[in-house]
């Protein structure tokens, strides 16, 4: 059946007026074969492998976006969690490796490289500990290297010793980058139930179950969904879900097509399509505004969780039919600093840290790009991570924490992170201590949900 005039117009409207774009094409590269007894050799292997595999990533993606007329905003690389190839390396050597990754990202022209990571949800190996110790410096002296640490899963419980360390790591990273609004913390995520094929930053890494190289795609499109809903101001909630579903289907199909073309031209297998609505600071490209369009005066008020649950589910249903391989995080993102509606919600007092926490129960992924008062103690940061991890562990879903304790800033201040990372009002933390609980350490046992065999 030929494509109708109105259908062509719809696609063009989505791209030109409603910010439809492919948020990221991310090439996953295994670095397992780069391990070596001689650390100089490791650095060389890593640099060579990344710059060889991803040499054409950026030009090919740019060519495809030109041919199809849909922008691909970010080109990124995810790699094997670095802790797995550190072996006997020292902390200083691990930091050097982070610099090598930064150089490789520069050479290939990608905006971020993710995978300065460790999986310590049950225990911490020697290499893991080296990576943890290297994190604050690595994040503060590199520009494009992102790190993540898995501290819990439904099957293993939560490693509270690691959680305690992360509180300190985040605080140290904030201190080291305090001249720049503690920006180092924006490149770090703590995960519960991380996924191995997430194309989005800062939490992307190339998991152990993945192949040599793979190409995954993350779509976006809050603006498209918002505009579609605006055309049905009187629809009931069942119809609202239907409108979101249909829109998500179209967005996803476009994303999968472009992803497959890029993968084919790079001669790597197509991995997964991540169905996530990811906001940007562009006008109307906001998840919060979708919730408000559904009928909330301001995001964060009563009814927010219900609206978010409806939206998140509808996006998945539409996307699941549109793509053959759905993976990654696949759910709505609610990064505060990257979403004008969320920022407004906090400034108006309708959206709070507690509400954001509750929202993470029904959507991916977690507390994301939230600027906290610089006064927050390492134990408080660790306790925030523990709370989020508990939500993920019990509900068998991914949860994450990417918070930025901005040194020298207090509740009510605004910080500018710049670029895609946006700006955020500082949120205060509770004045009461969680220190005793965090100091206990140990492991929170896996919940009953883990016993499914």
């Amino acid at each position: 059946m030929p494509i109708a005039f109105t259908e062509i117009q719809e696609t063009i409207r989505m791209v030109q007026m409603e910010s439809l774009d492919i948020r990221t094409v991310t090439m996953g590269i295994s670095l397992l074969d780069c391990a070596d007894g001689d650390f100089e050799k490791v650095k060389e292997n890593v640099y060579q492998k990344i710059t060889t595999y991803a040499a054409k990533l950026k030009p090919v993606a740019e060519q495809v976006e030109k041919e199809y007329g849909i922008p691909i905003i970010n080109k990124r690389i995810s790699i094997t969690p670095i802790a797995e190839i550190l072996g006997n390396a020292t902390v200083d050597q691990a930091v050097e490796l982070a610099q090598v990754l930064d150089e490789a990202a520069n050479t290939t022209g990608v905006d971020f490289i993710g995978g300065f990571s460790a999986l310590v949800h049950k225990g911490i190996t020697k290499g893991d500990q080296t990576l943890l110790n290297a994190l604050p410096k690595a994040l503060s002296i590199t520009n494009r290297v992102c790190g993540s640490v898995s501290i819990g899963t439904t099957r293993t419980g939560i490693n509270m010793d690691a959680v305690r360390q992360l509180g300190q790591i985040i605080k140290d990273t904030a201190e080291l980058t305090k001249d720049n609004n503690s920006i180092g913390c924006a490149k770090f995520v703590a995960f519960c139930n991380p996924v191995e094929d997430n194309p989005f930053m800062a939490g992307a890494f190339h998991g152990a179950g993945e192949g040599e190289a793979v190409l995954s795609v993350g779509v976006s499109g809050p603006g498209v969904v918002l505009n579609a809903l605006k055309r049905y101001p009187e629809a009931d909630l069942g119809e609202v879900a239907d409108v979101i579903k249909k829109t998500a289907f179209k967005i996803t199909r476009a994303g999968e097509l472009l992803g497959r073309v890029v993968a084919e031209r790079l001669d790597v297998p197509f991995g997964i399509m991540d169905l996530s609505l990811a906001p940007t600071n562009a006008m109307n490209d906001s998840v919060a505004e979708i919730l408000e369009e559904i009928g909330l005066e301001s995001v964060g008020t009563h009814g927010t969780i219900a609206a978010l649950a409806l939206m998140n589910d509808a996006v998945k249903k539409g996307g699941a039919m549109a793509s053959s391989y759905v993976g990654g995080l696949s759910g709505a993102f609610i990064p505060v600093s990257e979403d004008n509606g969320m920022i407004r919600g906090i400034e108006d007092g309708s959206l709070t840290l507690d509400k954001l926490e509750a929202m993470t129960c029904v959507c991916s992924v977690g507390l994301d790009m939230i600027a906290l008062s610089g006064e927050a103690s390492p134990e408080t940061l660790a306790a925030i991570i523990a709370d989020e991890a508990a939500i993920g562990m019990i509900n068998k879903k991914t949860t994450a924490v990417r918070v930025i304790p901005v040194i020298g800033k207090e509740e009510g201040d605004i910080v500018e992170f710049g670029g895609l990372l946006g700006r955020a009002p500082i949120i205060g933390v509770k004045p009461f201590s969680s220190e005793k609980m965090i100091k206990r350490g140990g492991r929170i046992p896996a919940p009953l949900q883990a016993l499914i065999n």
Partner: protein, 90 residues
């Protein structure tokens, strides 16, 4: 493989739009298979389906359209047809 692309032209209605646009297409040996146009509130909208004889010419074509865009105050875009098939057909 034969590739087709959708060319869309949007801008203020005036004399010579179709002539200028198809002139460029002819120069690059691109056959127009289908064409439809409408005028909405003074705005000219034209959608053409063209045979993209050589896909690697798309860069040159975009470049050639730039001067037409500037001269007549139009927005011209060109997209491979597959993307519309993917989005609007199951």
């Amino acid at each position: 493989m034969q590739k087709r692309a959708v060319v869309t032209v949007v801008g203020k209605d005036q004399v010579g739009i179709i002539a200028r646009v198809t002139n460029v297409l002819a120069k690059y040996q691109m056959n127009v298979q289908d064409i439809s146009q409408t005028i909405l509130q003074d705005f000219f909208t034209m959608i053409m389906l063209v045979d993209l004889a050589e896909q690697d010419k798309i860069d040159d074509l975009l470049h050639a359209f730039e001067s037409v865009e500037k001269e007549l105050g139009l927005t011209i875009s060109i997209q491979l047809e597959d993307v519309f098939q993917a989005m609007h057909r199951v």
